[in-house]
């Protein structure tokens, strides 16, 4: 089944020759990558994060600056962006892990806004509101990626598939199990000797790193980065993808990203009414599937209402 889907997805640009469709799927892939990363933080470790776009921005600007200032190629930029955004995840996480629940959401929201405004204001480095232009597209040997969506599509497919595979492995690993303990009952986990701070930082670091990869891909594909691509709405939309797909579900994150990318495109025919319908659809979707499209039963139980106070 899984292989069949993959084969279809890989061969899709040959079957559907409409470049617009490939572009939408590439965008869906980019969001899927981001949703996978955020799912690691929110779904696996249970940390509600509202500033995830910040890591995406850090990844994008890291590659953009390295490429423009030092001619760094995309394939080197990818791990460097990942590392930079991952380190940022840990550093911003250090103070944030002290706060819990919804308050963590606000602290991360604050960080998200701070990063975006700092990027806007540091004009000599980041180009300010004008952003950075002329960032190199990726190339393999003598083949250069251009504006054709297909190479990007296959690349993002590879990145998403690889990340999804790693996430699924991670969930079954010792860390993954410890995250479950942390998410289910932090106090109990700590009593059992689980180092909760370290676990949270691992989740934030890995999640940040994935956003860094996505950012690098985005900068290389667009060729330009501007701060308005990384606003609060983006963080919220990625969170919506994770939750709509089903919190904690790897396939769910991908599905949620696909749905929330493709639906607004389908609604393009409604022009000004587009976002009105999209908002209504979000409400209807959540009411139809409160646990998410591919929600996990255990998480549904866990999040149902408030549990008896400890």
């Amino acid at each position: 089944m899984r292989t069949a889907i993959l084969v279809v997805l890989i061969s899709l640009p040959f079957i559907d020759r409409n470049p617009y469709h490939v572009e939408v799927l590439t965008t869906a892939g980019l969001y899927a990558l981001l949703a996978l990363g955020l799912n690691l933080i929110v779904g696996f470790a249970g940390l509600l994060h509202l500033g995830y776009a910040a890591f995406f921005a850090i990844g994008a600007y890291t590659y953009a600056l390295l490429n423009l200032r030092a001619g760094c190629p995309f394939w080197l930029g990818l791990p460097v962006s990942m590392a930079t955004a991952g380190v940022a995840g840990v550093l911003l996480g250090l103070p944030a892990v002290r706060v819990r629940g919804d308050y963590l959401a606000i602290v991360t929201l604050g960080f998200g806004e701070i990063v975006r405004i700092v990027v806007t204001n540091l004009e000599p480095w980041t180009g300010g509101p004008n952003g950075l232009l002329g960032i190199a597209h990726p190339s393999i040997g003598s083949f250069r990626f251009g504006v054709d969506s297909r190479p990007y599509y296959w690349l993002i497919l590879l990145l998403v598939e690889g990340t999804a595979w790693a996430c699924a492995r991670l969930r079954r690993s010792r860390i993954g199990l410890a995250w479950v303990a942390l998410r289910e009952d932090e106090l109990a986990a700590r009593c059992l000797g689980v180092d909760t701070t370290r676990l949270k930082l691992i989740a934030l670091g890995l999640g940040g790193g994935i956003a860094g990869v996505a950012g690098c891909f985005f900068a290389a594909k667009q060729g330009t980065v501007t701060p308005d691509s990384f606003d609060f709405i983006l963080s919220v939309m990625i969170l919506a993808m994770v939750i709509l797909g089903g919190l904690g579900s790897v396939r769910g994150a991908i599905l949620g990203a696909a749905v929330l990318t493709i639906v607004p495109e389908l609604l393009q025919g409604f022009s000004s009414y587009r976002m009105l319908l999209f908002g209504a659809l979000m409400v209807v979707l959540m009411q139809a599937r409160p646990q998410g499209l591919l929600g996990l039963a255990q998480i549904r139980r866990e999040l149902r209402g408030r549990r008896a106070a400890a």
Partner: protein, 309 residues
């Protein structure tokens, strides 16, 4: 303008804008206090309140006898406008709660959060489509009066905004801590199941909370529109985000906390813009927010509530 006057002028301005943040923050705080929902759509209800206020002003002006009476007594038309917007927003809040949130009462909390975002998109675009995307001018209801002390200016609107916010905050505090309704609200907030067993109509209490919070947002919307005299369908986003920040800063779920948080945010923004730079003021505001939460994880006046996982 001397440095002292400069400070005073900034202080007065921070107080006025902070009062509006506080009014909206009260709604966030009430809803969060009772069902632990970050009601992302609250900012849009505030924005809808500003538009309802505009509609009321235009309507009052257009009905001959009422218009004449209102023209003679500006305070009357202000009260009428505020009441219309508050009532309209209360109904809107009730509708949102009934249609979008109540069906999800048993659902995962985060699903409700996403629903709230959907509602927010919907309301924002509904207002855009019905009132147009252009900024709208809000005609002044009251004569534009200034008091000048040296080169420091205080406007009548600033005074009204502060007075109304304080009054409503104290009234709300009185309701929550001095009436049977308030007791029912607090009981529902503590434990909805036990409250229901004690015969409290939990769903109705939650609905009333939404209506009250939304009515306050409506008042905030009118005052906002009259203060700046331009409104836009997008105003709920930024101002809502700030009011929400204010609610958290003061300790979400806490009524005086919302007031304190609102005023503090108003001052922070003002003084950061004044002594640093406008484009860094939001960084300063958010940095303070983060610091406060790290040092006092439940906000300035927040109480320690039962811990959730």
């Amino acid at each position: 303008m001397s440095p002292g006057e400069f400070f005073l002028q900034q202080f007065i301005n921070g107080l006025a804008i902070g009062s509006i943040y506080a009014l909206i923050a009260l709604g966030y705080t009430m809803v969060y206090g009772i069902i632990q929902l970050i009601n992302f759509a609250h900012g849009e209800i505030f924005m809808a309140g500003a538009y309802l206020g505009l509609a009321a002003i235009l309507l009052i002006g257009s009905i001959g006898p009422i218009g004449a009476a209102a023209g003679a007594a500006p305070a009357l038309s202000l009260v009428l406008t505020i009441l219309t917007a508050a009532a309209g927003c209360a109904l809107l809040g009730l509708a949102v709660e009934r249609v979008a949130y109540r069906p999800l009462r048993q659902a995962p909390k985060l699903s409700v959060l996403i629903t709230a975002i959907g509602v927010s998109f919907f309301l924002q675009n509904a207002v855009m489509l019905s009132f147009g995307a252009q900024d709208r001018y809000v005609p002044p209801l009251l004569p534009v009066l200034h008091a000048r002390i040296g080169s420091v200016t205080v406007t009548l609107m600033q005074g009204i905004v502060l007075a109304v916010s304080l009054m409503l905050m104290m009234g709300l505090q009185g309701i929550v801590y001095g009436t049977a309704l308030g007791r029912a609200m607090r009981a529902t907030a503590q434990d909805p199941l036990a409250a229901r067993l004690m015969g409290i109509p939990v769903n109705r209490i939650i609905a009333v909370t939404f209506a009250m919070g939304s009515a306050l947002a409506g008042v905030g919307g009118v005052l906002f529109g009259l203060t700046y005299s331009t409104i836009n369908f997008h105003d709920g986003y930024l101002t809502g985000l700030k009011a929400f920040t204010a609610a958290v800063l003061g300790g979400i779920g806490n009524i005086p906390g919302a007031m304190l948080g609102g005023l503090l945010l108003g001052f922070l923004e003002g003084f950061a813009a004044a002594y640093l730079s406008t484009q860094w003021k939001n960084v300063v505001a958010f940095t303070v927010l983060v610091l406060v939460l790290i040092l006092r994880p439940r906000g300035l006046l927040g109480e320690r509530v039962a811990e959730r996982a």
